[in-house]
C-alpha cells in the first residue's frame, strides 16, 4: 500500500515536472526570462517568505527561541578578560571587500564589540586590508563609541588601513600582536591562507581567540588554533544573535526554518534516489519507467538544463 502511495506521488511529481519542463523548453529560446533559473526563484521565494514570516511573528512580540552559540557567548568573556588584564582587543574583519557578505556580517559584529570596549574602556584595534572596509569600520566604531556615550574614548588610530597585499597585511597584524600582546583576538569575516598565520601567532601570544568564517577550507585552521569558532552560518547569525532587535531575531528563526525545509527536501531526495536505485537493481532500464523518467526530469532541473 505504502509503495503504491509513493509511486502515485512520484507519478504526480513527474507529471507536473515534465509538463513544466516541456513548456519551458519550448519557450526558452525566445523568453525574456531565464527559464532554467525558475527553480532558484522558487527556492528564493520560499526562503524569503519564511524569513519575512518569522520577522513578522517576532515584531508582534512572540517569544522566539534561539539556540546558544558558544563562540558568541564567549565574546563577553574575552572582552572581560582584556579589561581585567588592561590589554587591548584586536578585531580583524577579514581580507575580503565590503561587497562580500561575510565582511558585512563582520562589520555588524564589530559594532557590538566596539560598544562594549567603549563601555569597558578597553583599547580596540581594527586593522584593515580594503580601503572601503576601512572607512566603513572607522565609521561603525566611531558611531558605536558615540552610542555608548563615550565619544571621547574614540581614537582615529583604533581603525587603520594597513595594505592590500595579503601577506603584507598578515605581517602588519602579526607584528601588532607580538608587540602589543592583545588579550582577545577576533577574526571574523572572509579569510584565506592568512587564517592560520594570524591564529597561530595569536595563540603564541596567549590571547583568547574567537574566529568565524564561511569559507569551508579555512574553518579547520581556525578550529585547531582558536578557542571558539563560528562555523559558516553562525557568522551570519552573529549580528542578529547579539542584537536586541526582535526583527533580527526573527530573521534568524526564518533562516533556521529554511534550513529545516532544505533538510526535509534532502531526505526526500535521498529516499527517492534509494527507490530509484532499487528499481535499477531489479533489472529495469534506468532511463525508462516512471521512476527513471522522474529522476531524469529532476536531475536535469537541478542542473538547470
Amino acid at each position: 500500500m505504502k509503495q503504491k502511495v509513493l509511486l502515485f506521488s512520484l507519478f504526480q511529481l513527474r507529471f507536473y515536472s515534465s509538463a513544466f519542463a516541456t513548456e519551458a523548453e519550448e519557450q526558452i529560446s525566445n523568453s525574456f526570462f531565464q527559464v532554467s533559473r525558475i527553480p532558484v526563484l522558487l527556492g528564493l521565494i520560499i526562503l524569503c517568505g519564511l524569513i519575512l514570516y518569522c520577522i513578522q511573528i517576532a515584531k508582534k512580540g512572540q517569544y522566539i527561541f534561539i539556540r546558544k552559540i558558544a563562540g558568541l557567548n564567549a565574546i563577553d568573556d574575552a572582552l572581560g578578560r582584556a579589561t581585567e588584564m588592561g590589554k587591548p582587543v584586536l578585531y580583524v574583519p577579514g581580507i575580503m571587500e565590503i561587497s562580500d557578505l561575510q565582511t558585512l556580517a563582520s562589520i555588524s559584529i564589530l559594532g557590538h564589540i566596539a560598544k562594549k570596549t567603549a563601555c569597558y574602556e578597553t583599547d580596540l584595534y581594527v586593522p584593515n586590508r580594503d580601503p572601503l572596509v576601512f572607512s566603513t569600520a572607522q565609521e561603525v566604531v566611531k558611531e558605536s563609541y558615540l552610542a555608548a556615550g563615550r565619544p571621547d574614548a574614540f581614537n582615529e588610530n583604533m581603525v587603520e588601513y594597513l595594505t592590500t597585499d595579503q601577506f603584507g597585511y598578515v605581517a602588519g597584524v602579526n607584528g601588532y600582536m607580538v608587540r602589543e600582546e592583545p588579550a582577545a583576538n577576533f577574526y571574523l569575516g572572509g579569510f584565506y591562507a592568512e587564517s592560520l598565520l594570524l591564529a597561530e601567532t595569536g595563540n603564541a601570544v596567549g590571547a583568547i581567540q574567537v574566529a568565524g568564517t564561511a569559507i569551508p577550507s579555512q574553518i579547520p585552521f581556525f578550529i585547531s588554533a582558536c578557542d571558539y569558532t563560528l562555523i559558516g552560518e553562525e557568522l551570519y547569525a552573529a549580528g542578529a544573535y547579539l542584537s536586541d532587535d526582535p526583527r533580527s531575531k526573527g530573521s534568524l528563526k526564518g533562516q533556521d526554518m529554511g534550513k529545516l525545509a532544505i533538510m526535509v527536501v534532502t531526505i526526500l531526495l535521498i529516499l527517492f534516489n534509494i527507490v530509484y536505485n532499487m528499481n535499477i537493481s531489479s533489472g529495469n532500464d534506468s532511463s525508462e519507467g516512471l521512476l527513471g523518467k522522474t529522476f531524469n526530469v529532476l536531475e536535469s532541473g537541478m542542473k538547470g538544463e
Partner: protein
Amino acid sequence: MKRSIPIFITFVSAVIMIVFYFLNQDIESVKKFQAGILNWVSIIAAFALLLGIFNLLFVNFYKLRRFNKDSIYSLVLIVSFLTITISGLVDDTSATYSWMFENMLRPLSSTMFSLLAFYVASAAFRAFRAKTKEATFLLVAAFIVMLGRVPVGAMIWGKIPLISNWIMAYPAASAQSAIMIGAALGAVSVSLKIILGIEKTYLGGEE
C-alpha cells in the same frame, strides 16, 4: 535622511540585480546593463583606491609628526611608497621598479607565505592530540588520508589510497556541503535584512 537615502539606494540596486539575474542573459539590453554595472564597479574601485592612498599617507604623516617609538615604521612606509610610485609612474618597465618588485616585495610575501608550513605543523600537532574520542577519530582519519596521499601508503597496503579517497569524497565532502548550505542560507538572510533595511550597522551607528 542620512540613513534613508543609502537604504533606498541599496533596496533599488538589490531589486534590480535580483531581477536581472532571472532575465535571459542573451538579450542585448541585459548585456548592456551588465556592462554598465561593471563600469560602475570599476569607477567606484578606482575612487576607493584613491581614498586608500590618501588616507594611508595622511595617517602616516600625522604619526610621523607626533614622533614616537613607532614613527620609524611610518617613515619606512612613506619612503617606500613614494619610491615605488615615482619609479612606476616614470616608467613602469624600469629596472628600478622591477628590481624592487622582484627583490623586495616578492621575497617578503614568499617569506610570510612559507611560514604557513611551520604553522600548519604546530596547529596539526595540537589538533591531533588524542585527548578525547572525537580527537582520536580525527587523528585516525587524518593519518589515513595523509598516508593515502603518499606512495608509501600504497606500498603498506594497496587499499589505503582507496580508503583515503572515500573519506575525502563522502564524509568530508558531505560535511563541507552542509557547511556551504548553511552559509548560503545565512547569506540570503543577511542580504534580505540589508535589502529591507533591518540590518543597518554597515552604515555606521545604531542597528
